[in-house]
Amino acid sequence: MSGERLGLAALAVALAAVPALAPTAYVVTLLNVIGLYAIVTLGLILLGCSGQVSLGQAAFYGLGAYTSALLSRDLGWPPAATIPLALGLVAGTAYVVGVPTLRLAEHFFVLATLGVGIIVNVLMVQLVPLTGGASGLRDIPGLALPGVRITTDRQFYYLIWTLVFVTLILARNITSHRTGRALRAILGSEVGAAALGVEVSRYKMHVFVLSAVYAALAGALYAHYIRFISPSPFSLYASLFFLIMAVVGGLTNIWGGLLGAAAVTILDQIIRAEVPRVFPRVGGEYQTAIYGILLVLIMIFFPSGIVRGALDLRRLLVRSAARPAPVPAGAQDPPTLGDPPPVAPRAKPADGGGGM
């Protein structure tokens, strides 16, 4: 536990020093983007802790952005008020979506979030008088919080990363203690958890709403930071992008969220720069090929994220070096209390439903 505190403190110091040491403004901007994505990813991972996946995070991200942008731009309300309002609106939306779908099996929930994502994106494009349609919204007010104006990249950097730390610590606390155990119990066995008095759908609802609020917070910050929004960064493609970040970090590993967001964002920058050199004639979202394959490989070989996967691999190698006999499946060092679980293996190869 104190090791975790130490890590947190070290990371905070390092991040605080970045703007002073950063060789270019590009690094600060990149870190800002990573920070925003990290907040969204943290929300997804909170959701993952209860055994859920959402493909509508980009919609919540976008709703947060559009709500705060519109309220502050068209009504002239201060962002200090519009951002909380945006979070509230998104929480309400997530609640309405969650009520009927969370009690369904996993894939129906995924499908419902996917549907919401697509509907919201269509609305962003189609409600031209309100959203400006495909060409987007310009001249969104910057962030004037009581006392301070936050305008430069550097100022945003401190704001965003402070919020990353706050959301990280909140998420970490939620996934420990009673609530965290209940969530992981739900991941392990919903029926087993319910039989002990865990109100499964209520907990799932709570984390779902919370994950949506995380996304909305990042979205609202994004709107006031970039000061221009359009529907394309909030498409299904973005939802998949967030999912990949969560999966790379480990769907149930809070700390993995930071790593996943950073790794995938940087990878994306590299791909965008390098692939056109190899395949000069492709345009558009060719990266999906790489991400898709990445997703499959990670889920097959490191279903609990690359950090945990690497640790397991090392342990396996150390053991097989020490003792040539194959390691029995599941033999592992005892994890410490509060260790987040990887996605639990459960489904059987062929468990079909009724007849054809």
């Binding site: 993952g48 996946v53 493909l55 009927p100 009690r103 369904l104 099996a105 996993e106 894939h107 129906f108 995924v110 499908l111 419902a112 996917l114 549907g115 919401v116 697509i118 509907i119 269509v122 609305l123 189609q126 066995s189 919903e190 029926v191 319910a194 299904l236 998949l240 999912l243 769907l251 395949f279 004639r281 492709v282 345009g283 060719y286 990266q287 999906t288 090929a289 991400y291 898709g292 394959i293 990445l294 997703l295 499959v296 889920m299 097959i300 279903p303 996605v343 639990a344 293996p345 459960r346 489904a347 059987k348 190869p349 062929a350 468990d351 079909g352 439903g353 009724g354 007849g355 054809m356």
Partner: protein, 291 residues
């Protein structure tokens, strides 16, 4: 307004027959493996684009179509062996995410291979369109509806009257018992993916002369197919076919009577409605998993 109706219905039935084929692919895989294959829509895309390339390579239409379907079947089998089978036994979420990964991979690879421009296939039997109740039905649309009905019929015969078909049904009903009598769930799963891929490819090749074929057509087709399958209850093949036609009709009517841009959202609104009305309790889900 009403004058448009017959035309919209005919259009709806045409695309509906394609959605029905895709939905059927979902149902086959879901029944046999319990997986919702989010990559299902990519098979029509691959079928159509492969067929276009084979035609450009000088093959005749029937030959190119058959070869493309066969190739997509092989791809379906590869997906099962390389991506899905290694993850059997994992959390259902893992499998869902994997099929999403497969879908993204196919879409990206198709973009690299075929580029972003649309391809067109020639009509199977070019000629003047038919006029039906003041609506126009192209010959290709007749092909689409007829072929999809034929495939559906063939599928039912297969499941009802042949030994391998019965094996697949048995496996869907009770995997444990079917293992006892020597039916391998592994082989059945492979078969289900191959068959679904083939169904998808047929759908793609038949619709491409009407709508054209692009690398990203899979997403829409796949999602509409889902909605159809979900409307049908996901395990019921005839209901999925009906669901396909329903989705086609809803979409066509929405396009005709609403601002076109919204028609995409309408399908998903229907999906949400269906999901909201769905009753599936805690225990049901748990038992599926334990099987």
């Amino acid at each position: 307004m009403l004058a448009l109706l017959p035309q919209l219905v005919l259009t709806g039935l045409t695309v509906g027959s394609i959605y029905a084929l895709v939905a059927l692919g979902f149902v086959v895989i879901y029944n046999v493996t319990g997986i919702l294959n989010f990559a299902q829509g990519e098979f029509p895309m691959l079928g159509a684009l492969l067929c276009a390339s084979l035609l450009a390579g000088g093959l005749s239409v029937p030959l190119a179509a058959v070869a493309a379907v066969a190739a997509v079947c092989v791809l379906g089998a590869l997906v099962e062996r390389l991506a899905v089978e290694p993850a059997y036994g994992s959390h259902p979420l893992t499998l869902i995410i994997i099929t999403f990964g497969v879908s993204m991979a196919f879409r990206g690879l198709a973009l690299m291979v075929w580029g972003a421009d649309p391809y067109t296939l020639p009509e199977f039997t070019p000629g003047a369109p038919l006029v039906l109740l003041s609506g126009v039905l192209t010959r290709q649309a007749v092909w689409a509806i007829g072929l999809s009905l034929a495939v559906v019929a063939a599928l039912f015969l297969f499941f009802a009257c042949t030994v391998p078909g019965a094996a697949v049904r048995a496996c869907a009903d009770n995997p444990f018992a079917s293992r006892l009598v020597g039916i391998s769930p592994r082989r059945t799963s492979l078969f289900a993916f191959t068959l679904s891929a083939g169904l998808g490819a047929v759908a793609g090749i038949v619709i491409a002369p009407i709508t054209g074929a692009t690398y990203d057509m899979g997403l829409g087709l796949g999602l509409k197919g889902f909605v159809a399958a979900v409307i049908g209850g996901l395990t019921n093949a005839p209901a999925a076919v009906v669901g396909g036609y329903l989705v086609g009709l809803i979409e066509a009517l929405a396009t005709g009577f609403l601002t076109p841009g919204y028609s995409g959202a309408i399908t998903f609104l229907v999906l949400l409605l269906v999901l909201f009305l769905q009753r599936e309790g805690l225990l049901h889900g748990a038992q599926r998993r334990r099987a």
